[in-house]
């Protein structure tokens, strides 16, 4: 089966700083792939390439077999409709209510009536366990609720792929657990392929079907969690040791 997302020979440099050095990665349909790495390893740069916010210096990114790395912005905008992205700090529009935030992609990309939009927004919020918050502003929500509203906005156009940027960073353990469950639930309820970038080892081993360890701009190891746990690479083991020793 053709991978949903396939990255081949991806390289990116900012001035003298070579951030990504020859990345190869496949993500299959329905899979949760966690790109694990320390701060500054190039995770955010990689995810920005996948959604076309950055263009590679070399290499290609295939989404459903289509190379998006040299696509015109107009075509890229069409491809982006098959993606949903959940940002680290949710990136909800703070001047809009929860309803307006979640409805935003529908208003921009569909010709649905307001009553239909309202119905779809309520449905997505309810699936994610959010009730009667449509009229609240993001500032009135807790961190976990913001994440779920961000996810509701990301899935409102029924995308095929969801990207999560550091979903558990800065959250307390209970909210972290809720967000992990939210990612697993989202895969089941919305039938999506998920890519998560994170440095949270515990979360990665809880939710991932596949883990890719990014170190210094290179994916050193990739495979199922058990394979990663047993891999011999020194840098990977040093990274994992910080968590498993604690556990």
């Amino acid at each position: 089966m053709e991978p949903k997302i396939s990255i081949r020979g991806l390289k990116k440099r900012f001035g003298d700083n070579e951030v990504l050095k020859n990345i190869d990665l496949d993500v299959n349909e329905g899979e949760i792939c966690v790109i694990l790495g320390a701060s500054g390893s190039g995770k955010s740069v990689l995810i920005k390439h996948i959604i076309g916010l950055l263009r590679p210096d070399e290499g290609s990114i295939f989404v459903r077999g289509i190379d998006i790395s040299r696509m015109e912005e107009k075509e890229m905008n069409e491809i982006r409709k098959s993606f949903g992205m959940v940002f680290q700090n949710s990136a909800l529009f703070d001047s809009m209510t929860v309803y307006e935030n979640v409805a935003f992609p529908l208003i921009e990309h569909t010709r649905l009536k307001e009553s239909e939009i309202r119905e779809k927004v309520r449905e997505k919020l309810n699936i994610l366990g959010l009730y009667d918050i449509e009229d609240k502003y993001p500032a009135e929500l807790s961190g976990g609720m913001k994440k779920r509203v961000g996810l509701a906005r990301a899935v409102i156009l029924n995308p095929e792929i969801i990207l999560y940027d550091e979903p558990t960073t800065g959250l307390d353990p209970i909210t972290t657990m809720t967000v992990n469950e939210m990612i697993l639930d989202a895969r089941q309820k919305f039938n999506v392929t998920s890519i998560v970038i994170s440095h949270d080892i515990g979360s990665a081993f809880m939710i991932a079907d596949k883990i890719a360890f990014l170190y210094n701009g290179v994916i050193i190891e990739q495979g199922p969690p058990q394979y990663i746990k047993e891999a011999k690479d020194e840098n990977l083991q040093r990274f994992l040791h910080t968590w498993f020793r604690k556990a």
Partner: protein, 268 residues
């Protein structure tokens, strides 16, 4: 060569300066280009007309009234030496219509709406709201900057016209009501010395200043970085650069108008 560039701080700053100028002009061209492309977000434009225009009206009227009043007060004493107090109205009207109206209105709008605009875009940048727009397939330049640019170009001339009117009313109050100058002479001299081109030249300048305010403040906010501190710096820079650009462009517009605007003569 690379080594020389890397180690020369002055050269680096100069290169960065020209890079920013280039980025600014690319943004200006992009925003004009996307403003002619659908979707046309009328609701956003109306919101910005209110934000930039209506909400600036009070501060513009207040500034205009006191500018007219103080100009009248100052010029009466000078004209009194030549028994020409009747010229106060026309002097205030012409200088306000040609220069003070558009420039001071632009300053007020920069201080009130331009700074808010830079802060809003800067906050959206550092909290990834602008990236979120990209990921949802929405062009942030078209969604965020175009309505502000259109509203600013429309509202600046309207606010300037209001400034002009209230300034003349303020000078009338001081000259006629407080200082006892004959009302007929005051109005007659304005009619005699003032041409429609005095007003239109000021309104043209105001529209150009509106574009400058929107683009300078948007540029600084849109490319802000470095968290809350970066947003603060972007706001300060957008206000200072707007003021300077307005004054520089004002000079060159005046030179151009003397050459190409029929009936526009320096000195009235």
């Amino acid at each position: 060569m690379d080594h020389i560039i890397k180690n020369n701080i002055l050269l680096n700053r100069a290169l960065r300066f020209f890079e920013e100028i280039g980025e600014f002009f690319i943004l200006c061209i992009d925003v004009i280009a996307v403003s002619f492309k659908p979707p046309f977000r009328y609701r956003n434009i109306i919101k910005e007309l209110d934000n930039i225009g209506i909400q600036s009206l009070f501060v513009v009227l207040l500034t205009g009234a006191f500018t007219g009043m103080v100009m009248a007060l100052q010029s009466i004493n000078v004209f009194a030496k030549f028994n020409a107090e009747g010229l106060v109205g026309s002097t205030v009207a012409i200088s306000v219509a040609r220069e003070l109206g558009p420039v001071l209105t632009a300053f007020m709008v920069t201080g009130r709406a331009g700074s808010a605009l830079a802060t809003e875009l800067g906050s959206m940048r550092v909290t990834e709201q602008i990236d979120a727009l990209y990921t949802m397939g929405v062009d942030p330049k078209q969604y965020l900057i175009t309505p502000k640019m259109i509203a600013s170009v429309i509202m600046l001339p309207i606010l300037t016209a209001a400034f002009d009117l209230i300034s003349v009313a303020g000078s009338y109050l001081v000259s006629v009501i407080f200082m006892g100058i004959d009302a007929g002479v005051f109005i007659d001299k304005i009619k005699y010395f003032m041409d429609p081109v005095d007003v239109t030249s000021g309104l043209i300048k105001a529209a150009v200043f509106g574009y400058i305010i929107a683009m300078v403040c948007s540029y600084n906010g849109f490319f802000a970085s470095g968290g809350a501190k970066g947003v603060g710096e972007a706001t300060t820079r957008s206000v200072v650069l707007s003021f300077i650009t307005i004054l520089v462009v004002d000079y060159f517009l005046t030179v151009l108008m003397t050459k190409y605007l029929p009936g526009y003569v320096l000195g009235g």
